[in-house]
Symmetry: C2
Subunit: 202 residues, 2 copies
């Protein structure tokens, strides 16, 4: 199998951290998105939507979408579990993964997409919407800070994919000057702990 | 257990269709979102983000997020499988579920949120962003039409959660006057078939 990765984009990092936590090594191909390699015919034949990362299996099957790729590895390499341990826990991990994605990571990406020079001329930018998303992300971080008062990780007492989604989202906020407010002590504590895991360097 | 449902909102319908396909009956409480019952203290104690649907288990655990609720029922009632059958298939179903959600359903919801009177004064609307999303949804439907040329359902030859996400997204487009273009024959055929399943009435 082959993982088509890009060091520039946030989503591939989600998969790299997931693999690092599992201790799985996968042969990797770097896709140069600054040179729009992901918009070239060869890549689009694998993923017509042009997104990275993708995982190509030995039978030629292409799996796109970071979370779908993570699910594949969870199924084939269940230990340690990063997507939950039983019916209830899997549902709760999925809930928190989605909350982190829709409430925090996605707004942060939208700030970038709608306000950053990188996307000027590439997509129709709406800076006003970017500012709405900036406020939304800040407000959700406040909510999350309160949630984290009683537990170590986003989805409970165990590190899961929800922590990965949040970490990658927050780190990506830097390019838009969006950071965890200093007074959000629980979120700061969480960030310090999760960032210092070896997987965070992936 | 209890499902907190709302006939007005699109997301709860995803769970209702999922349950109908599984043949599962769950006691249901209607939440009146027009009267902002989901913003009242009682509901917010269950889901601080105020979203419907939520599933309350007998031990008091609350599962929010439609897809997380579906995952709970897939785990406890595996037949028929709606989230995939083995590692590869589960990853592909997740990929297609996410594509339908991020590429089509979410832009359609954003058209509504940013342009419809229902949200006037409730959230900061950016009509220009709504129009960007309208074009994005239309363009992705075109892409999907080509994808559907070779198969019956979104994720392959079997009905899955990806079909549910797409159906609910497209039906919700009507309130924003966003429909499948008449020349998208494969998508029209898919829509006709999936809409005529008994579960679509849920």
């Amino acid at each position: 199998m082959k993982l088509y990765d890009s060091k520039l984009a946030p989503n591939p990092r989600r998969v790299r951290i997931f693999l690092a936590e599992k201790g799985i090594d996968v042969p990797t191909v770097q896709v140069d998105i600054a040179k729009a390699e992901n918009r070239g015919a060869e890549f689009l034949a694998k993923n017509p939507l042009g997104g990275v990362p993708i995982l190509e299996l030995d039978d030629g099957t292409v799996i796109a979408e970071s979370v779908a790729i993570c699910r594949y590895f969870e199924e084939t390499n269940p230990r340690p579990p990063l997507l939950g341990t039983d019916a209830k826990d899997r549902a709760l991990v999925e809930m928190w993964q989605r909350r982190m994605e829709f409430e925090i990571a996605l707004p942060i990406m939208q700030v970038f997409r709608n306000t950053h020079d990188f996307f000027k001329g590439r997509i129709p930018q709406v800076p006003e919407y970017g500012e709405v998303c900036r406020k939304a992300a800040e407000s959700r971080m406040k909510w999350l800070d309160a949630e984290l008062a009683g537990r170590s990780f986003v989805a409970g007492d165990r590190y899961t994919i929800a922590d990965i989604t949040l970490l990658v989202g927050i780190d990506f906020g830097r390019v838009s000057n969006l950071r965890i407010a200093p007074d959000l002590a629980n979120l700061q504590r969480w960030y310090g702990e999760v960032s210092s895991r070896p997987s965070a360097k992936a």
